[in-house]
Symmetry: C2
Subunit: 239 residues, 2 copies
């Protein structure tokens, strides 16, 4: 039986008509549930019961489809309602961003490495710039923006790249063993502070369950960033 080929006549329409939306839907779900390795144009087509070429008619090529998946992903992030305190607003946005990324780690990771220029996903940048523009930073506003954006998104990407590329369960003990057995002569400092860093730090990490262990580090990073920006605001400003 040819499960891949839909039992339909040449050129005939599908029972359930294929739309760009249904394709993005399916792609998102496949990546989300089964990881980036499960995603391919052919696999999406098979899942929808059509031939690969059909996708190209509706959404263009693979890169374009991933752009649409990215859009859907960022649209899932709700910008916090305006607040009179810029810090709580920024803090809340950063937390929501990270929470959303951790809710869909496979999607978040794939879209953050494959594409980055998408006019449709500028809602969050715009909101951040809006908030920063009230602080009187002058031309430094662009640096504050880049620093926040790069640090927060970057932190989350790195975190995800560890969490969603876990060693196969069969090897997790080997990795842990390697880590615990690192040469104290080559890596004296890691060895000495191993109890603090073990499975709790970027690059020094192996299990999958320790997912919340970077929560405090993320908060620490945010306080560094926001304190620093606050310190660079002009002392007194007129409304």
């Amino acid at each position: 039986m040819t499960a891949a080929s839909p039992a339909r006549k040449r050129g005939a329409r599908a029972e359930t008509p294929i739309t760009a939306e249904s394709i993005v839907d399916t792609a998102f779900r496949m990546i989300d549930e089964r990881g980036h390795e499960a995603f391919s144009m052919r696999a999406v087509a098979t899942e929808l019961g059509v031939f690969p070429a059909t996708l190209y008619w509706h959404v263009g090529d693979r890169a374009h489809l991933l752009g649409l998946v990215e859009q859907r992903w960022v649209n899932g992030i709700e910008t916090p309602e305006a607040s009179d305190d810029w810090r709580t607003w920024m803090l809340e946005l950063a937390r929501r961003y990270r929470a959303h990324a951790r809710r869909h780690p496979n999607v978040a990771r794939l879209v953050s490495v494959e594409r980055s220029r998408n006019v449709e996903s500028l809602a969050i940048p715009d909101a951040i710039i809006g908030t920063l523009s009230t602080l009187g930073l002058g031309d430094d506003i662009v640096h504050a923006y880049n620093a926040l954006m790069g640090a927060v998104r970057g932190f989350v990407v790195l975190e995800l790249s560890m969490a969603s590329d876990p060693p196969p369960p069969s090897e997790v003990d080997d990795v842990e063993h390697d880590m615990r057995g690192i040469d104290p002569d080559r890596f004296p400092n890691i060895s000495q502070h191993f109890h603090l860093f073990a499975d709790r730090a970027l690059s020094i990490w192996w299990s999958e369950e320790s997912g919340d262990s970077l929560d405090d580090s993320f908060e620490y990073l945010l306080s560094l960033l926001l304190d620093g920006i606050a310190a660079r605001m002009p002392k007194r400003r007129r409304p």
Copy 2:
């Protein structure tokens, strides 16, 4: 003529013997010079004049080869000599890291997204922990480490993902046009501050030449991070 298949007898040795090192060498160079799309197991094999299976004997599979490429890449970063001022040391390391990444953007980007658990590439983490451990941060040392690591590496990854996935020259004008023509009603803040952000900010970027435009933002980020850590050090410490 079959340029792909080496003119050699079944089972015969290659003239120039293939080593793991020569394979990593070739893979690094191909990614570096021609981008990640030019890299494949088969392409590396062809370049070396051997059959694909040969690579598997020497370096294992694709993921393992990329791990070796990553090692070679990080080994290219020289840790600064010990300094009595932790800030200048940390600053110098961060600058070298970014400079090295920008020297080999294609490699840096590929290895930072594909693998992240490599016992061989812990030299830099170890050095950072060594420096941080002199500051008296207590258990916060792990958060300082994660914040620095995540922010700095993350910033650079995002920066590279814009620089090394440039729109094809044929489309660069379209992208710029799209950016300049964004709807002021949807994105009022970007529109208002467009002159500051145009081609100088993450997600608001199109050309390839504007590569140095994030230099100042990177320095700004570093000062936020280092100032913040300094402020969290105990006021007076005994030697």
